[in-house]
């Protein structure tokens, strides 16, 4: 394995950050191609129209070299189409894709420094595992096929299955073979199209860790398409949340979760409580709002719209549930009545109805055995810095996104 890793890393250390290698628009392709860039991917104004519908509607993404990047979104959001355009399986209607600083417009899939792991693996059923992995090497007439294939099979600990046919392997094993069949060609970017979609939940968890390990080991860029928010959060360094052909928000998993900038992200990644509110005043970095007559404070940077009418949100696990009238000084607070309590083991999930008949979800860790009963009056409170602000109508959109996730 070390040889492969070395070779790939060698390529990585070459031309420095990928973004620096991206030529100005209009620069000739030859010139751009000259410094054989790494595995950074730059997508600018990418559009793909199928007839009247725009599957991808103008997206800009910059994937740093060597990162694990996830395109996350519900089915039909354009994530797979985007990936297929990077792979060269689909022609963009407009926009540009640069891989390693090189414009790849008009090039065939095999001319790009990418390889793809297909959705249902697309292993060749009539060939042995060895021949499947060797396929790319043989087509390129590369020497030393046997050693390279066996190294790759070692990477996923499947050397003993080299002479089997794909149908004789389990789903997880086929998945790993699909990954190394692509990796053996030493792409600068590995494209994964819902690679874990066909696996059951337990195996999916296991493969998430395995894929992450492989990515760390070979050190190349992975672009991973998925509709599973947990999968994206577990593996990716950066996630682009897509909806209706556009990128809703791009950032690290923690950033997306803690500070969603759109209703869609708030609903698609985890759960959110959202309340209609109105901006009352701004005190420097702090915005003061009024929601249902309660005074809500939040950092100005976490309010994504100017207002005055907005919706304020907070994640269920950030909310503290206390006796009526009891809350930390300086925290945002709302009174309500417990209408439902479900004990889940690690946590208890409460549904609290406010005086304005809004329902808020609260997750509490089961630190004490004291459970709130239905009908009990309580005060909900949370830190101002856990509050985020979105456009009005966010609740409906977030609920729709939650259903889609």
């Amino acid at each position: 394995m070390s040889a492969v890793t070395g070779a790939v890393r060698g390529a990585v250390t070459g031309p420095g950050p990928a973004t620096a290698a991206v030529p100005a628009p209009g620069a000739g392709r030859r010139v751009a191609a000259a410094p054989d860039g790494g595995g950074g991917v730059e997508i600018r104004g990418l559009v793909k129209a199928f007839g009247a519908t725009r599957a991808v509607d103008g997206i800009d993404i910059s994937v740093p070299e060597g990162s694990f990047f996830a395109l996350l979104g519900p089915s039909g959001c354009g994530k797979t189409t985007t990936l297929r355009m990077v792979a060269g399986l689909e022609e963009p209607t407009a926009g540009a894709i640069h891989i390693g600083g090189r414009d790849v417009a008009g090039t065939r899939p095999y001319q790009r420094p990418t390889n793809t792991v297909f959705q249902n693996y697309a292993l060749f059923p009539h060939m042995t595992i060895f021949e499947n992995v060797a396929f790319g090497l043989r087509r390129r007439k590369v020497g030393d096929v046997r050693r390279q294939v066996m190294e790759m099979l070692e990477l996923v600990e499947l050397t003993h299955l080299a002479q089997r046919k794909p149908a004789q392997l389990s789903g997880g094993q086929q998945q790993r073979i699909a990954v190394v069949r692509a990796l053996v060609n030493r792409p600068k970017v590995l494209l994964l199209d819902e690679p874990l979609g066909a696996l059951d939940l337990k195996l999916r968890r296991q493969m998430q860790l395995e894929l992450k390990r492989i990515q760390t080991e070979v050190g190349i860029t992975f672009i991973h398409v998925t509709h599973d928010q947990e999968e994206a959060m577990t593996m990716a360094d950066t996630i682009a949340v897509m909806n209706l052909g556009r990128v809703e928000q791009l950032g690290a998993p923690v950033e997306l979760y803690e500070n969603p900038r759109t209703a869609f992200v708030a609903g698609f990644l985890g759960q959110s409580n959202l309340l209609a509110a109105r901006v009352v005043a701004r005190h420097g970095d702090v915005v003061e709002l009024s929601a249902e007559g309660n005074r809500i404070l939040m950092p100005a940077a976490r309010l994504s719209v100017p207002g005055p009418d907005v919706e304020v949100g907070v994640r269920p696990e950030k909310v503290h549930l206390g006796d009526l009238g009891v809350a930390e000084e300086g925290w945002n607070r709302i009174d309500g009545t417990v209408v439902d309590a479900s004990f889940i083991g690690v946590s208890t999930q409460y549904l609290v109805r406010t005086r304005q008949d809004e329902e808020l979800t609260v997750f509490t860790q089961n630190l004490s055995t004291h459970l709130r009963r239905v009908g009990e009056q309580v005060t909900l409170s949370w830190r101002p810095e856990h509050t985020f602000g979105l456009e009005t109508g966010a609740w409906e959109r977030a609920t729709a996104a939650e259903t889609a996730s």
Binding site: A87, L89, R108, P109, Y110, N115, T116, F118, Q119, N120, A122, F124, P125, H126, F135, G136, R139, R140, K165, A167, R181, A182, N185
Partner: protein, 320 residues
Amino acid sequence: MSVAAAGVGISSVERTGGPDGPVRGAGPDSAGPVGSRRLTPYFLLLPALLALVVFYVLPTLTLASTSLQTGDLQQGYSITWHWATYGDVLTQYWPQFLRSFAYAAAATLFALLIAYPLAYTIARRAGRWRNVLLALVVAPFFTSFLIRTLAWRQILADQGWVVSIMKSTGLMSVTDWLGLTSGRLLATPVAVVLGLTYNFLPFMTLPLYTSLEKIDPALLQASGDLYANAWQGFWRVTWPLSLPGVVGGTLLTFIPAAGDFVNQQFLGSVSETMTGNVIDSLALTQRDYPSAAAMSLVLMVAIVVLVTVYVRRSGTDELV
């Protein structure tokens, strides 16, 4: 045809692991209904087995016994274990056997060359026209086999447009020089092979279509992603995965074509007959039933041997 039917029966049994395959899964715990359950597959096989006995086994045995009889129509026939009939028909009619297999092989090859691109197009490129095209492939069956073959007589006739085009373009002189034609198309091997090719084309097309249609298009995309050009993608992925269809289609074409006599009778020359014509004439004109029976059995055995060698060679059981 019966040979092909028997062959298909064998391969399907092999795949499902025998008729008692599913019963094993039930395990010994379900002791009560096991007896009847174990018999269920055989009950289901019964109609097919009966048909096979009545329409295949018994006629074949009758044929075998007839081939060993001597006598004539007036005196009646009796079994005399006269094996010499086999030697006689082989020495007398070996050119007809050879011609049958050569014509059938040529027709099979041409049918494959025509049907493969056709089936590929229907399976891969036809889009919403797929069903219309499939219906067109089967459409000739709505007219009788005889009428369609007779129609070819008209098309290939000496005064027909095909011959006049061939003559005016000079193509006829080339085929004449090659010995394929003799100033005309009718009554030549070309016409017979053409008729066979035409008549059995749907039997080649449909199995090919079925196996091509089953190939996941993502496999070709994957081969493209893994540096295979269009030709390599075809040769390394599509072709091997379509082999079951190729084997099925060639068997369904070759076997009936080798035994056919209608195409030769309508389109061929009297001097270049096939096995089928000889059997036809022996049984219905000369009333030499033992020789006709011996010919039939020889043809059948020869086909079984050829098919067995072919299927073994093509190694389709290794696929999937």
